[in-house]
């Protein structure tokens, strides 16, 4: 009995609310007009968009493949590579900051710098992150510096570095490990040269437009407005991720684009194998 009264009461309240809130017919028409206007505006905004979106489509397609946390590890790997090259140059008497690209900030270096300034504020013991490198150069760096000082050629450096790596005397950044498990000294040496050029005020390496060559495959997908170009690369013997990045982007530091786009088949940057078909995102 009480329940049915309560139910009736609730229904009555709901009915009243509906009558009060419901707009009159004229208002509804106005609303419809507004909606139409809004839609028209949206259309005109959307009109030119497909063209603007199109060039980034390839990147968008890659997006879901991105692992959520590669950032730190990749930055670290890249920083290592940069540091190796910078330390080799420093060993040769050329002073290069470990981060020549001003737009690329290593988040770990940034975090470390703020930690160090925090500790320094309390202890008065001020240490700068990674710059005043009193830390010993790695065995790899010392080896390359020595060979370059002796005026040895690339083939000699390649032999010596690989022998030392096989013997476990040096550790090598992952992106320099080739499909055979060797060390890609060519990429290390070219990275040293391009860093030296940038340090000397030279231009950053140009991005080559590779569309042909062994292992390179370009697929063109015709879309309503324009053609999409997808590039793939099949890993050849002796390739390292660093080498592939240099091949397609002109610079080893772009390797993370390739790595990110192919994380489903690459468990780590040194895990590339002959015959793997890597997707090469557009820059």
């Amino acid at each position: 009995m009480i329940r049915s009264i309560v139910a009736l009461f609730v229904f009555a309240v709901a009915l009243c609310a509906y009558i009060v809130i419901q707009p009159d017919k004229g208002g509804r028409q106005a609303n419809a007009e507004q909606a139409a206007v809004a839609r028209a505006q949206t259309d005109s905004i959307l009109g030119p968009l497909p063209d603007a979106i199109a060039p980034t489509n390839a990147a968008l397609i890659q997006a879901p493949m991105r692992n959520t946390a590669p950032g730190l590890a990749l930055e670290t790997e890249h920083a290592q590579m940069e540091r190796t090259a910078a330390n080799v140059l420093a060993g040769l008497g050329l002073n290069v900051e470990p981060n020549p690209n001003a737009d690329r900030v290593d988040p770990m270096q940034e975090m470390t710098a703020s930690v160090l300034s925090g500790i320094g504020a309390v202890t008065g013991n001020r240490i700068k992150a990674g710059f005043e490198a009193p830390e010993a150069k790695s065995a790899l760096e010392l080896l390359v510096v020595k060979a370059l000082e002796e005026g040895q050629d690339d083939a000699y450096i390649n032999t010596v570095v690989n022998a030392a790596a096989k013997a476990g005397e040096i550790s090598v950044p992952d992106i320099l490990v080739t499909s055979d498990g060797d060390v890609d000294t060519a990429v290390l040496l070219s990275s040293i040269i391009s860093q030296a050029q940038i340090a000397a005020g030279g231009p950053a390496p140009a991005v080559p437009n590779v569309t042909t060559g062994e292992g390179v495959e370009v697929r063109v997908v015709q879309r309503a407005t324009q053609a999409e170009q997808y590039r793939f690369y099949t890993v050849n013997q002796g390739d390292s991720l660093g080498a592939i990045a240099v091949k397609f982007y002109g610079s080893v530091d772009k390797f993370s684009l390739i790595y990110d786009a192919n994380r489903q088949i690459l468990s780590s940057p040194n895990a590339i194998k002959v015959g793997q078909r890597l997707s090469i995102p557009s820059l």
Binding site: L72, T76, A79, M108, M111, T112, S114, G118, I119, G130
Partner: protein, 211 residues
């Protein structure tokens, strides 16, 4: 007779209420004979007291009781073998003696966005991620903490003694920082863990700073 007894208890109740009410600024003390802990680190002076509003309760982030685990899982009292857990009075003693004397450091192991919300006075933010072996600049931080580079690696004998904390017993950031420090060679005996963290600190109404 029953009226008299009731009046008697009522009187006692009123007296008890009066004596319990905060009548002056020192109504909420840290211990019965300590109402504040004052110390200086370098040129900075710090004073830690408890909030004087006896009716205060926790609000916001630190009033939560349940957080999803994994991620916010209950941490062990002993974060690692040889690392002693501390309570608030020991932390205060550490600040007063070791930190102000320049032999100890209170480390906040949380990521910077947490540190910015509130921190224990005189704490230094050293996020656990910065101490991880994956940080290529980890050695710089260890040197800043007093480790000395030698031919055989880092020597920690003159490094600072550390007290590490995070958000609380449900937060693994301090545990991770401690694990990373020990993996890097920091002697466990030189590390202590304030497991209660900011949650317990705030729960007791102790002073915090907004860095």
């Amino acid at each position: 007779m029953s009226f008299e007894i009731r009046a008697f208890f009522a009187t006692i109740g009123v007296l008890a209420a009066i004596s319990a009410a905060p009548t002056n600024a020192q109504g909420v003390r840290i211990t019965s004979d300590v109402d504040q802990v004052a110390f200086s680190v370098g040129e900075q002076n710090f004073t830690i007291t408890r909030g004087q509003d006896a009716g205060a309760t926790l609000q916001g982030e630190f009033a939560k009781t349940s957080r999803p685990c994994p991620e916010f899982c209950i941490q062990p009292m002993i974060a690692a073998a040889g690392v002693a857990p501390l309570g608030e009075l020991e932390v205060l003693g550490f600040l007063e003696n070791d930190v102000s004397a320049g032999t100890g450091l209170l480390l906040d192991a949380r990521l910077p966005d947490w540190f910015a919300k509130a921190a224990i006075p005189a704490a230094v933010n050293v996020p656990f991620a910065a101490l991880a072996a994956e940080n290529p600049y980890q050695a710089d931080i260890l040197r800043a903490l007093g480790a000395v580079e030698t031919a055989d690696g880092l020597d920690f004998s003159s490094a600072r003694s550390l007290v590490i904390y995070d958000n609380g017993a449900w937060d693994e950031q301090a545990t991770r920082a401690i694990t990373a420090l020990i993996a890097a060679g920091y002697p466990p005996a030189m590390i202590k863990n304030y497991r209660g963290g900011l949650e317990d600190w705030l729960h007791l109404g102790l002073s915090v700073v907004l860095p």
